[in-house]
Symmetry: C3
Subunit: 282 residues, 3 copies
Amino acid sequence: MDLPTVESQSRAVADAIGAAREQTPLVPSITNAVTIDYVANAQLAVGGSAAMVHMPDEGEFIARAGAAVYLNVGTLMPVLAETMTRTARTLRSCGTPWVVDPVAIGIGAMRTDILLTFGECRPTVVRCNASEAIALARLWGLLDEGAKAGVRGVDSTDEVDAAREAAVAIARHTGGAVAVSGKVDLVTDGTTVARCAGGSELLTYVTGSGCALGGVTAVYAAVADPFTAALAATLMFNYASDRAASVADAPASFKVAFIDELFRASKVPDEVAAKGFALERA
Amino acid sequence: MDLPTVESQSRAVADAIGAAREQTPLVPSITNAVTIDYVANAQLAVGGSAAMVHMPDEGEFIARAGAAVYLNVGTLMPVLAETMTRTARTLRSCGTPWVVDPVAIGIGAMRTDILLTFGECRPTVVRCNASEAIALARLWGLLDEGAKAGVRGVDSTDEVDAAREAAVAIARHTGGAVAVSGKVDLVTDGTTVARCAGGSELLTYVTGSGCALGGVTAVYAAVADPFTAALAATLMFNYASDRAASVADAPASFKVAFIDELFRASKVPDEVAAKGFALERA
Amino acid sequence: MDLPTVESQSRAVADAIGAAREQTPLVPSITNAVTIDYVANAQLAVGGSAAMVHMPDEGEFIARAGAAVYLNVGTLMPVLAETMTRTARTLRSCGTPWVVDPVAIGIGAMRTDILLTFGECRPTVVRCNASEAIALARLWGLLDEGAKAGVRGVDSTDEVDAAREAAVAIARHTGGAVAVSGKVDLVTDGTTVARCAGGSELLTYVTGSGCALGGVTAVYAAVADPFTAALAATLMFNYASDRAASVADAPASFKVAFIDELFRASKVPDEVAAKGFALERA
């Protein structure tokens, strides 16, 4: 299969960014308590419409009513065992695109059970850091024992390149895409690998930037193919965070500037899509 | 019954804004996880004292101890089925003023059950958008089948005028007031209808602005009659958001400026009350 | 026992601030929904690594894996009855330092039960306001009936000096430290009492500033003795909030400036440690 060219892929990214702003897709989430407000505000900033739920029947409702759905397994509560799994199964049967963030994989039995069900239901996009990609690929039985993940709280201890094999394996398993965030970001659909440089380190001082990236990825998954959606969200974050870092040098003013810049970036899709990325065969 | 004049109603609004700042009323909430921090910070900004709970006995405690209470049915969890209904019944029996936001009405069985109980307990103020007003009036059996609500996630798909009949019907049922937010805001106690223009569109890019308006309405319900409380909060939001929009043109810096302006507005009640509104018979 | 000198104690504070930034200790929390994002962002700003959980097995995990843990009893949910108590017992048996905020003590049966268990497990640091210190000392049977607490929502109605006896009694019971926040802050380990002046009143208009202080105290408890940790966090908040108040005069812009200043303050430990405090015998 031929890889897309950078030019054609840039065009697809710009189209996705513009389509989200025009269509205001409804993109509900089941997500963690720490960053739920950041996820919603990031989604609104790029043109999406947000709605967050916790109850099982509401999860099934959003799986049917949403243009795409975001599921993040942070700060689990008892009811979410049922809600997350019923929602994932409904998403699968409806064919609604969905994005998963396996945050804190490895901590607690409920998170493991939910992520195993997600493996069966095959999410459209997985958004994670390097350690989480490796841990998820191992949990789903996609990697040899040789591959080693270092998970530490919600922070990554592995570089993105260490997770290349895991990311490709996950994408081939789901038939969707995987976005691994780091100093260099890696996005793959199992055939093509995109690498994107840039993005401010200040993002790592703002809790939930990865969660917000997942939520924005889901907005684009409502209007584009999985690989383009994951790449569009990643490029938006790199573009907006670079601009925010040019006006703010500390975390809280940076966060404000960053959400503002996401809003502005969503109105200039071509500039964002011109943000550098390279493509290679997986 | 004679309608109030704009002059006398403005005086009542200014008095409510000043009284809240002087008395620092304790106004607890049971509210959703997305915007709980925004609600609390908005309440503090206008002079209120906030406290948020989830447990049933705590709900009864705040119903007795609060000067007013705010109940918002977003992001429901299992325990809230009992907490919301026991709290509403205690509020009713104690006569404590309370404000309800029926956010996401129509999604999930628990939300419907809770809102039916609220209908029996007759909240002091209902704060919602046009679609929610119509859906609530229908749920409570107050509207003919002809009236049609379009609920879509947590966003409104109807204009405020389409909800005039529903709002008046709800206010007559509860004996309190209803505030419907939109480009033009409508506030009614079933006898008088106030229309308020203004308010920045950027509020719609900040998740939870409606929730925060409900929380602030509850602060004023602690020190004023329901119609004055709903109108005071609405005018505060229009005044502060217009000022915020004059210094910020993107959502996150706008949110910061908006909460700052709520704080400043609470110290100039006469200016806020002079914000234009018109009165007509319901 | 000799008291530390201000000079030696300042040195210890500066060392703690520097060590936290260098070591990036993992400091998980079980904390309330209102301010969970503020706690995490404040912890990141001073160099810590945050992770928030709700489930019982996750609580035991963080008690073992964390360099220190923060437990805050606001917005309790049913599962937290088990999670909080199992976590506290594991913290006690592992010897992991932990910080408790008894916010809203006196409201609801579950909160009382959890705080009684905490009394048996003896937290490393208790961070609270004056009313809460008095209420906690009484709940734990450490004060005569003469001592009187006025708890009102989550706000303090007592001055810090009224809580001196209670704070000393709690510290002697736990063998750790107690920090009581107010216009003047009081920190004690049962032998020495530190008083710290300063800190902007605007902090009281930002919901969760006390919670964030608790979370930051836990970061320092990971790298210093309890008294030094509590004093370091208190001095950081006074230093950063004074600086923030010099550039912001309203709550939301103040909050942004305050978190930014925490980040900057963490890089100048000597300046922060030079922030005035006085030491006296308990």
